[in-house]
């Protein structure tokens, strides 16, 4: 799905990303984890072609900047970390933005259907006539989640979703629900690259983990391979113990 090699990205003399390699297969859920300032969001921006680098990023074996803007928006979507707080529109109008690549002037029946379905999935359907600006932080997050999901409702196979800290402000139930939705999405040959802060959630849901530290890849592999006490204490500079999750037997990280 995505191949990127030796990505360098710097601000003046400071390397934000330094020789990062990323490969993402079809149907893979990749979680990017790491301490603050490790370059997680920057890596996501580079992969999503928001900032240009000298190195090539191949999306479906074609250089990502060679894709037409309108075409690629049906193959990939991105959920950003800093969503605007002030959008004087109704919730349903914002979710409908996800369908903009599909209609010209007026939404078609399938666009309405896609937005309604996704609003149900993300549990914002009851808010659809509300002013976006009156929602709480977590509700706003869910509106945008529903928007990016609606954007990828189409017949194309092997789609890609980028999510930058999608769980911010969400309560426990909606954190799990959001990850379930992403997991379901990746089980249909689609892929997702997600920046997460909660290592335990990452261990439970992700297929692959990319652990970053100061702009470099500290470890990459399955949760079992990456989440070792040594890797994590080293990256976060904080002691931790690893044990098996009693139900899923994935690694469980206890800090302190």
């Amino acid at each position: 799905m995505i191949k990127a090699q030796q990505i360098n990205y710097r601000h003046k003399e400071f390397f934000i990303l330094n020789d990062v390699d990323v490969t993402l297969g079809f149907g893979e859920f990749l979680a990017i984890v790491g301490p603050n300032g490790a370059g997680k969001s920057s890596l996501l921006s580079v992969l999503a072609n928001e900032v240009k680098t000298k190195q090539q990023i191949l999306f479906k074996d074609k250089n990502i900047s060679d894709w037409a803007v309108t075409e690629i928006s049906k193959h990939k979507a991105k959920f950003s970390q800093h969503n605007s707080n002030d959008i004087p529109l109704e919730v349903k109008e914002i979710v409908m933005m996800g369908r903009y690549p599909y209609f010209d002037a007026q939404p078609k029946a399938e666009d309405l259907q896609a937005t309604n379905e996704m609003m149900f999935e993300t549990d914002v359907y009851h808010l659809k006539d509300r002013e976006y600006n009156t929602l709480s932080g977590g509700e706003k997050q869910r509106v945008h989640l529903s928007r990016v999901l609606a954007q990828l409702q189409n017949e194309i196979t092997q789609k890609l979703l980028f999510l930058d800290e999608p769980l911010n402000n969400l309560d426990i139930k909606h954190q799990y629900k959001a990850l379930e939705i992403i997991k379901n999405f990746t089980q249909k040959e689609n892929s997702a690259v997600v920046v997460l802060h909660d290592l335990n959630l990452a261990a439970q849901y992700a297929d692959k983990i990319l652990l970053m530290k100061s702009g470099k890849v500290a470890a990459y592999g399955t949760p079992q391979e990456v989440f070792t006490a040594e890797n994590i204490s080293d990256a976060y500079n904080f002691p931790c113990t690893i044990c098996d999750h009693p139900i899923t037997s994935n690694p469980m990280i206890i800090f302190g």
């Binding site: 803007v69 309108t70 969503n83 605007s84 933005m97 903009y100």
Partner: protein, 347 residues
């Protein structure tokens, strides 16, 4: 969702309203047509009936009808330019006059009037108008680029910088136009005063034809941009992810609004606040959904300016009140209202 039919309903409703205002405007004025109604004469003029006296024909066709059409064209373009600029800067205060586009256009138009006297008389009418028009367009484009460069960085607009740059450009324009007035001759002085006050009294069919061409060209590019302007509210990067070519969109809006403001200034001088009033009222009704307010602002701008112009030439008959006074009286309180709302959201 019944969105499309709702939009068509409001468009049809406001178009009907505009039509009735145009009828009322045609019937308003000091000239006495005797026992015949202005509509009867207009009908005969259109049919090419020769029984109409030349003064009747002149008043109805060259004075009233052309002025009404000009009010419709100018009002529409000023209002749409305001709406588009507000979408680009993501702020309801962005309008051609507050950002200094109008001042930039006035300044270059004034320079052309005063310094262009040596060659102007040798050119045919269309080129003469175009000369001032091109100068006005250049002036507003330069002002626009300056405001955009100074007030936005990384896709974010600093509203204070945006307004202050507008103030600065207006100050430059004001002082230089003042200087030009000081050095100009009598006939140029009359032209310059007209530019500063703003008026639709100089309407002719040649001007209307040029304005109509500019309007059709501009609207054909801007009107389908409702979706894109909505997406811009998410931020430029997210708009890009939704398949919108953000760089191209910004360039188009910058050039087209400069073109519209420049043409309006060239033909009617500085008529302020239309681009502020109309989107403000539409936002109260439809929030910021540009798919709605962009087409509606085109018609409602015409309604506003035609109403204001008809009042301006009828309340102090047989004299005329400068139209800028009326629009400013409506616009300034709205400016304050937006500022107060803005203050609340900043706290």
């Amino acid at each position: 969702m019944k969105t499309p039919s709702k939009l068509y309903f409001y468009v049809a409703l406001s178009a009907i309203l505009l039509f009735f205002i145009a009828v009322w405007s045609l019937d308003t004025g000091v000239y006495d047509f005797g026992d015949r109604s202005p509509f009867e004469i207009l009908g005969k003029v259109i049919q090419g009936d020769t029984s109409v006296s030349s003064s009747d024909k002149y008043i109805i066709w060259e004075v009233r009808a052309s002025r009404i059409v000009m009010a419709i064209l100018i009002g529409s373009m000023l209002s749409v330019s305001g709406t588009s600029l507000q979408g680009l800067f993501k702020n309801p205060l962005a309008t051609g006059d507050l950002l200094g586009l109008t001042s930039g256009a006035t300044l270059l138009a004034a320079i052309t009037i005063v310094l262009g006297r040596h060659f102007r008389a040798f050119l045919p009418e269309v080129i003469q108008f175009s000369l001032v028009g091109i100068a006005a367009f250049t002036g507003s484009l330069l002002a626009m680029l300056l405001v955009y460069r100074i007030s936005t960085s990384g896709g974010k607009t600093n509203v204070v910088m945006m307004l202050l740059t507008g103030v600065a450009i207006s100050a430059i324009g004001f002082s230089l136009v003042g200087f030009l007035i000081y050095i100009s001759k009598d006939d140029q002085l009359r032209d310059l005063t007209f530019w500063n006050m703003g008026s639709l009294a100089a309407a002719t069919w040649t001007k209307n034809a040029i304005l109509a061409v500019v309007l059709i060209f501009s609207f054909s590019i801007l009107m389908p941009k409702g979706k894109a302007l909505n997406a811009m509210m998410l931020g430029e990067k997210d708009a890009q992810h939704l398949g919108i070519n953000v760089e191209k969109l910004k360039k188009q809006i910058i050039i087209i609004t400069a073109l519209m403001v420049g043409s309006c200034v060239a033909f009617s001088g500085t008529i302020g606040f239309v681009g502020l009033i109309v989107p403000y009222i539409l936002r109260l009704l439809f929030r910021s959904n540009y798919a709605f307010i962009l087409p509606l602002s085109a018609i409602c701008g015409s309604i506003l300016l035609l109403t204001a112009d008809t009042f301006s030439r009828s309340i102090v008959e047989p004299s005329e009140l400068p139209i800028g006074i009326l629009t400013a009286m409506m616009g300034a309180p709205i400016f304050i209202a937006i500022l107060m709302k803005f203050k609340k959201s900043m706290q």
